[in-house]
């Protein structure tokens, strides 16, 4: 009865409890306690992150002659910590007032609790996979679990969930093809067997393996050609669900890619595999896909007018950073990419929860119908501020550390265009997250929002806890970087030597303790300068300069619609929605084929049809 | 004045001469004054606009004849073809101070009529915007009427800074108050 079994049992128990007692809001705290137990069990497996040997799971089947077994390694432990943390935060958020509110609004709380409980349990199974078969079993279970969570929204959410399902099953089939191809090559589903055969495989087979694996797992990660489902699916899922999905669900694709592409095939193979007629290798191809995945979704997020959709689009963009870091492969970049998984999980969950809090109080997430809520919901503002500083990657928060690592590695490797793409993504993020913060919290407070109050404690606690984590890991990134060294060693990547503050390097290192210290010292001196100027009198928002005009409350002068008009004049025409057109044309083609197929069955003269077919068959046979 | 417009001019003069209610006086080659009574004015304007190419209403003037107890309304219409201006004068009694709007003939009339309404109190029925536009802060009687004594109003509402000549003494103490002596001011008038 190893720790891993305990974890599986606990998660199964949580799912059962959620299924049985999920409907009553009072069950929330108990469920949160169960999630806490799961988190503790994962924490007890801590030594894994410092080089202990893998924790096996006792159930092991053999089906049709092929063995099926599971174990937790350092890589899986790293992802498991994030999953357990995100699940605990989401459940904690749902356990209190939000759950009651959701139930009153007619939402099905039982289905939501069950779906949320199912997700981490299936993820622990996926994270423990040891060979292709268990990986595929875990992969399908996770895809279906997130499908159930997306269904919980009902109405529009179901339409997006169905679109997600088609993408997910397509991805799963690609993975199955790769799995069966490796079975055809080695006769078994073991990773080791494939790893042994890899050196003498032809380039064609290797390329098909790489494309199938990266394509299949790329669908879940929302890489560029397959990213259209993710924004809608994550935005339409109810509050804590979207927080959990946004934080960790699409990173399972990265885990699986790490396990197979980097663990089994190995970075060396990827680097050796070059695209014919181009100077690019396989890992550079992945890096370029990541670069486009950073830039395009971020600038799509810029145009969104709904807060949840803006955040969901950013989730896709940030996924690009993770893949780019890992694809570059050297010590700094892979550490940056992996740490970005942790960082993104923390602030994305906090941001989704903050937006849900705003929706909880004002009833809408439309950026053109909000404004000036900072005086009414200051703590939610603080959480959103910390979140967007993290998302944009500005110094005090942890987002900055992982982005710095990736940039520093890109400079080392001499990849100017990737560097510029990453920076354009960061700038796009800064520009669009300020729009989010400004349109909701700053500017003119509407008359109908003056009675809005701060959200209750049960929703505030997880948000503030996540923000604290964002700040602490920003202050001392060494805590997370140590875990990553073991992961790098396990995957065979170059290993980083981190200090508590970041990376010690003669030619330009990073020491966050000094950086954050200096920043706050600067703020202190700034405050002194500011206070030297005597007291200021706070005035009402209507006591404002408007060219001599007397402002009244009915007039709405909060600038929020078409927030970056100047920018949009320039880059507006570049938005052509080519991927949307691509997807629609594929759907139209299938529809055409389907019409043809249905036509076959409307033919009236069966006999003549039969005769024709037999003649055809005989001709074919004779040829 | 090409040929066509001269014939038009001649035709109009003969026509107006025949109508006895209309008293015509030609001031100058391109200025004509018509006097017509109040209820005939709109038809006259319609004639001028429709037949005689007077398509532009330059202004509507109002004169307050307080002695006769009448307002005089003068419609200045201009013709681009004949390059000439006709001022149609008419008189309306001062007391009810109501008259018919010509907004349907000339769109600019709305503005002129509102102006006159604010300043003189003559209400034009049918004019679209008959509320305060210029004198929003003023709730006294229409100020341009002769019976309104502006000076009396001012003395009643505003007070004055009393004029104290000792201001001048300080200036003279400083040399006449003008920092630059006059002879140096105009460079052009310097003798040297």
């Amino acid at each position: 009865m190893t720790l891993l079994d305990g974890l599986w049992l606990a998660s199964a128990l949580t799912a059962l409890a959620a299924g049985l007692f999920g409907r009553s809001p009072s069950a929330g705290p108990w469920l949160t306690a169960l999630y806490g137990v799961q988190f503790l069990l994962v924490a007890f497996m801590g030594p894994l992150a410092y080089g202990a040997d893998p924790v096996p799971a006792s159930p092991a089947f053999s089906v049709l002659g092929y063995g099926l077994s599971w174990q937790f390694t350092a890589l899986s432990w790293f992802f498991a910590v994030i999953t357990a943390g995100a699940a605990l935060a989401a459940a904690w958020f749902m356990s209190g007032a939000w759950g009651r509110h959701y139930a009153e609004q007619g939402g099905d709380l039982r289905l939501l609790q069950l779906a949320l409980a199912l997700n981490p349990s299936t993820m622990y199974v996926l994270l423990a996979s040891r060979d292709f078969l268990s990986l595929f079993v875990g992969w399908e279970l996770v895809s279906w679990a997130s499908f159930v969570l997306m269904l919980a929204a009902g109405g529009v959410g179901v339409r997006w969930a169905l679109r997600y399902l088609v993408y997910a099953i397509g991805g799963a089939m690609a993975v199955m093809a790769a799995m069966v191809l490796s079975h055809a090559l080695t006769g078994s589903f073991e990773f080791g067997a494939l790893a042994a055969v890899v050196p003498d495989l032809s380039a064609g087979t290797l390329w098909s393996l790489v494309i199938l694996l990266s394509g299949g797992f790329g669908v879940k990660m929302g890489l560029l050609p397959f990213h259209l489902w993710q924004a809608g699916a994550y935005a339409e899922t109810p509050g804590p669900g979207s927080a959990f999905l946004g934080a960790i669900s699409s990173r399972m694709g990265l885990y699986a890619m790490l396990l197979t592409l980097f663990g089994v095939l190995g970075l060396g193979t990827l680097k050796a595999l070059s695209i014919p007629w181009t100077p690019l290798e396989a890992h550079e191809l992945l890096a370029w896909i990541a670069a486009f995945t950073i830039v395009l979704p971020t600038f799509t997020a810029l145009k969104q007018n709904d807060a949840r959709w803006l955040l969901a689009w950013h989730g896709i963009g940030q996924g690009g950073y993770m893949l780019m870091g890992v694809a570059m492969g050297d010590a700094l970049a892979s550490a940056g990419g992996l740490m970005h998984v942790f960082n993104h999980a923390t602030y994305q969950a906090a941001l989704f929860m903050a937006v849900t809090a705003v929706v909880y109080r004002t009833g809408t997430a439309d950026l053109n119908k909000l404004g000036g809520l900072v005086t009414r919901m200051p703590l939610t503002f603080l959480v959103l501020l910390v979140g967007i500083i993290g998302l944009a990657g500005l110094p005090p928060m942890n987002g900055f550390v992982s982005k710095w690592l990736i940039y520093r590695a890109l400079i080392d490797d001499g990849q100017p265009l990737l560097f510029v793409a990453a920076v354009v993504g960061t700038l796009g993020t800064i520009v669009s997250v300020y729009k989010l913060l400004h349109n909701i919290f700053l500017g003119q407070l509407r008359v109908e929002h003056e009675s809005v109050r701060e959200v209750p404690g049960s929703m505030l606690a997880p948000m503030l806890a996540l923000s604290l984590i964002v700040f602490v890991t920003g202050l001392a990134p060494g805590l997370v970087l140590d875990w990553l060294t073991t992961v790098q060693r396990e995957l065979g990547l170059a290993v980083l030597a981190p200090t508590l503050g970041g990376v010690e390097r003669p030619d330009g290192g990073l020491d966050m303790l000094w950086v954050v210290g200096i920043l706050f010292a600067g703020f202190g001196v700034g405050a002194l300068i500011f206070l030297a100027g005597g007291r200021a009198r706070t005035v009402h928002q209507l006591d404002n300069y408007a060219g001599g005009h007397f402002l009244t409350a009915e007039v709405r002068y909060h600038y929020s619609d078409n927030f970056y008009a100047g920018l949009m004049h320039r880059i507006g025409p570049w938005y052509r929605g080519s991927f949307q057109w691509l997807q629609d044309s594929v759907v139209a083609a299938t529809d055409l084929l389907a019409q043809a197929a249905a036509g076959v069955y409307r033919v009236v003269q069966p006999a003549a049809w039969l005769l024709g077919v037999t003649v055809l068959a005989l001709w074919w046979v004779a040829a | 004045m090409n040929q066509g417009s001269r014939e038009l001019q001649v035709w109009l003069d003969d026509l107006l001469a025949e109508i006895e209610q209309v008293e015509m006086r030609r001031k100058r080659e391109r200025r004509m004054r018509l006097d017509v009574d109040a209820d005939a004015l709109p038809t006259l304007l319609e004639l001028l606009k429709g037949k005689a190419s007077y398509v532009h209403l330059s202004a509507i003037t109002c004169v307050d004849w307080i002695a006769e107890g009448e307002f005089e309304l003068i419609y200045h219409v201009w013709s681009y073809e004949t390059q000439s201006l006709i001022s149609a004068h008419t008189r309306i009694p001062r007391e009810p101070g109501r008259y018919l709007s010509v907004y349907d003939l000339y769109k600019p009339a709305a503005f002129f009529e509102r102006d006159i309404y604010e300043m003189f109190g003559v209400y034009f029925e049918g004019s679209p915007f008959m509320e305060k536009f210029i004198l929003t802060e003023w709730d006294g009687p229409p100020p341009m009427r002769k019976d309104f004594d502006s000076e009396a109003y001012i003395n009643q509402f505003f007070n004055w800074q009393e004029y104290r000549p000792d201001w001048l003494k300080e200036l003279e103490a400083q040399g006449g108050g003008i920092a630059i002596p006059p002879d140096e001011q105009r460079y052009s008038r310097r003798e040297d």
């Binding site: 501020l385 990657g393 500005l394 110094p395 710095w404 940039y407 520093r408 001499g414 100017p416 560097f419 510029v420 920076v423 354009v424 700038l427 800064i430 300020y434 729009k435 400004h438 919290f441 700053l442 500017g443 003119q444 003669p506 030619d507 330009g508 290192g509 990073l510 020491d511 000094w514 950086v515 200096i518 920043l519 600067g522 703020f523 001196v525 700034g526 405050a527 300068i529 500011f530 030297a532 100027g533 005597g534 200021a536 009198r537 706070t538 005035v539 928002q541 404002n544 300069y545 408007a546 909060h558 600038y559 929020s560 927030f563 970056y564 008009a565 100047g566 920018l567 004049h569 320039r570 | -």
Partner: protein
């Protein structure tokens, strides 16, 4: 450690003084171009003292004050990252990428303060300021990449030593130097690219509701930004400073060039700014990069 503490206090102070001098130079250049006498020598000091001497001033709430503190504090912190003759602050512990991000913190602070003023002019100003940031940061980042690649390090102190040994960066990568200067023009936010403080259109943008000590702090911030732009360019391209005299001469010269250009141009629209900053400096930067990386 004590020397470090002294440095951390002294560097911002020097920055403030030199910054005020640069402000004066800017206004003097403007005056000379417009054939005017120009302000007296200590005018910036008078302005700052007057602003901080204001007896009544208004604020629109806590975030308005915090935003200004973050703006000024951000720049003060950024000063300690750039090595100056005799003082290195924590420049050897961090690198130029951290510095770029430190320069973004003040604009976020000002954005918060302006947003809280609930004035449409301020919001439009901030949206234009972030658009401007998007415009000038891309060429600037290409320049940073090029120079880091050429010097083989991102640590500014080592960059200065490299240039002392191998000659100025300006001569080794002239195209990147041009791109850097063009980006500097956008970064300082003066005339051709002054889209976010457009007095005629949006009533000085973010500063519309700032009076008294708020505007005083922003003037201090502007002096810091001039100073930082000057010495960063000098550190990257003109071999940093061995003695304070040549360092300051170079810094003032660097700031003088964009200023003279600035006061001869009308104000561009936002999309024209994006167009020009994304076309010429980026082209020059990439060309320079190609030269640097393949030579």
């Amino acid at each position: 450690m004590m020397a470090l503490i002294v440095e951390l206090v002294l560097m911002p102070a020097v920055a403030f003084v030199v910054g005020l001098a640069m402000l004066l130079m800017m206004r003097k250049i403007a005056a000379k171009i417009q054939r005017r006498v120009g302000p007296p020598f200590f005018q910036p000091l008078y302005d700052v003292v007057k602003f901080f001497g204001k007896q009544t001033q208004i604020s629109h709430g806590l975030i308005h004050d915090v935003g200004i503190i973050v703006a000024v504090g951000g720049y003060i912190a950024a000063e300690t990252l750039i090595p100056v003759p005799g003082m290195t602050g924590i420049a050897d512990r961090t690198d130029v990428i951290t510095l770029i991000y430190f320069l973004m913190v003040p604009s976020l602070g000002m954005a918060l303060a302006a947003g809280q003023c609930a004035n449409p002019n301020a919001s439009i100003g901030i949206s234009r300021a972030l658009t401007a940031m998007l415009a000038y940061d891309i060429p600037f980042v290409i320049v940073i990449f090029g120079m880091s690649w050429m010097y083989g390090t991102t640590n500014l102190v080592q960059m200065v030593e490299y240039q002392q040994a191998h000659g100025w960066g300006l001569f080794q990568a002239p195209l990147l130097a041009f791109a850097g200067l063009f980006a500097l023009q956008g970064m300082l936010g003066k005339q051709p690219f002054e889209i976010y403080v457009a007095p005629a259109e949006i009533a000085t943008g973010p500063m519309v509701e700032m009076g008294g000590k708020y505007l005083g702090s922003l003037i201090v911030m502007q002096s810091f930004s001039l100073y930082t732009a000057g010495i960063l360019y000098t550190t990257l391209f003109l071999g940093g400073g061995v003695t304070w005299i040549d360092f300051l001469v170079k810094a003032f010269l660097v700031v003088a060039i964009p200023m003279t250009i600035a006061f001869q141009f009308p104000r561009y629209r936002a999309e024209q700014m994006l167009g020009s900053l994304w076309k010429w400096p980026v082209l020059a930067g990439l060309l320079g990069l190609a030269v640097v990386m393949w030579s």
